[in-house]
Amino acid sequence: MRRVLGEDAADLDGAAVSVAELDALERSVLATVDLPRPSAGIIDAHCHLGRDADGHRLSAPDLVEDLDRHGVASAVCFPADDPGPDGGFGAVNAAVIAAAKRAPERLIPFCRVDPRADAGAALHRASDGGARGLKLHPVAQRFALDDPAAIGAVRLAAEFGWPTLIHAGFGARPVAEATRLLLRAVPDARLILAHGGRGDARAIAGLVGDDERVLLDTSLATLSDLVLNRPARLCFGTDRPYGDVATGLQLVARAAEVAAWSPDDVRGVLGDNLRSFLR
C-alpha cells in the first residue's frame, strides 16, 4: 500500500511508524462505517492542493489516489494558502485548474482569492479557465466576511453561478452575523460554510435553519455541531491534507446514527446535497 490515513507510506516508514499497524487501525475505523452511497458517487467538498505556508502539501495524483482508496467519486479542490508574491493566488489557481483539466471527472476546481488583492481580475481569469466556485479564508487572508471587498467577491461568484466556500472553523471570528449580512447583500449567493461552522456553530445552526442558500461541510467538524443541523444542509468534506477520508466518513457515520438520519439523508450528505449546489 502506498498511502494510509492520507499520508505517504514511505514517509511514515521513514519516520519509524509501523505502516502495517496504522493500516490495520484505519481499517478498523472503516469497518464501523456502513453508509448508503449516493448513486452518482460521494463528493468531497473540501480539499487543498499544492503547498501551504504552514508546510502541509498535497498533489493532485495523491488526492486522486486517496479518493480511489475510499471510493470517493470526486472532490472540490482549491489552492492551499500560497498566495504568491503579489498576494493574488494567480499561479496556484492556474495550477488547480490545470490539475482538474487532467482529471475532469474527479476534481472540481474552485479558485481562491484575497478579496482585497484585485480579486475581480483573479475571479475573471479563473472563470475563463474553468473554475466552478470560490474559496475564501477570512482567517488566513485576514479580512472580515462582511468587508465590502469580500461581499464584492461573493457577488461576482454568484454572477458566475458559483458557490462560495468559506472557512468557518479554527481561529474564525464570529461567523453567523457576518454570514447573515453577506446573504442580505448578495441574496442569490450560495455559501458552503466549512468545518460544520465549528468556529460559531450554535449561532450558525440558528442562522442556517432551512435556508437553501447555505450548506455546511463536515470537514474536521465536531459531531455535536453537525447534529444541530438538518442533514439537508450538510455536505461531506475532509479538508485534505489537514484531515483524512477515513475519519471524515467515520464522522458522517456516527452523526447518522446519533441523529437517526434516513438513508436518503445520508446520501444527501455524502454527495447529493452538494451536487445540487454545483451548477
Binding site: 492520507g6 447534529v227 484531515g243 456516527r254
Partner: protein
Amino acid sequence: MTRAEAVRLVAAIAQCEMALVRRDAAAGPLLAQASRAAEGLPGGDLLSAAARLARDLDLHGRDRRDRARRKATQALCRAAAIEAQARAMAGG
C-alpha cells in the same frame, strides 16, 4: 463505555487535539494520559497508538516524515474523539 467515561475521553482528547494543532509540548503527556483513560474502552487502541507515535514526535519538524508522523497522530486522535463523542451523545 459509560457516559461518564465517554465525556472524560471527549475532554481529554480535545486537549490532545488542540495541543497537536498548536504543536505544544504538552501533546505527548496529554496523549499518554488520555490513552490511560481509554484503556479497555472502544477507541482505546487508537489512542494507545497515538500516544506511542507522540512519544518521539518532532512537533516542529518541517521534514515530510515528521509531518506524516504528526498527521497520523492527529488522525488517530480524531478517530478516537469521534467515537467518544458518539458514545457520549448516545448515552454511553
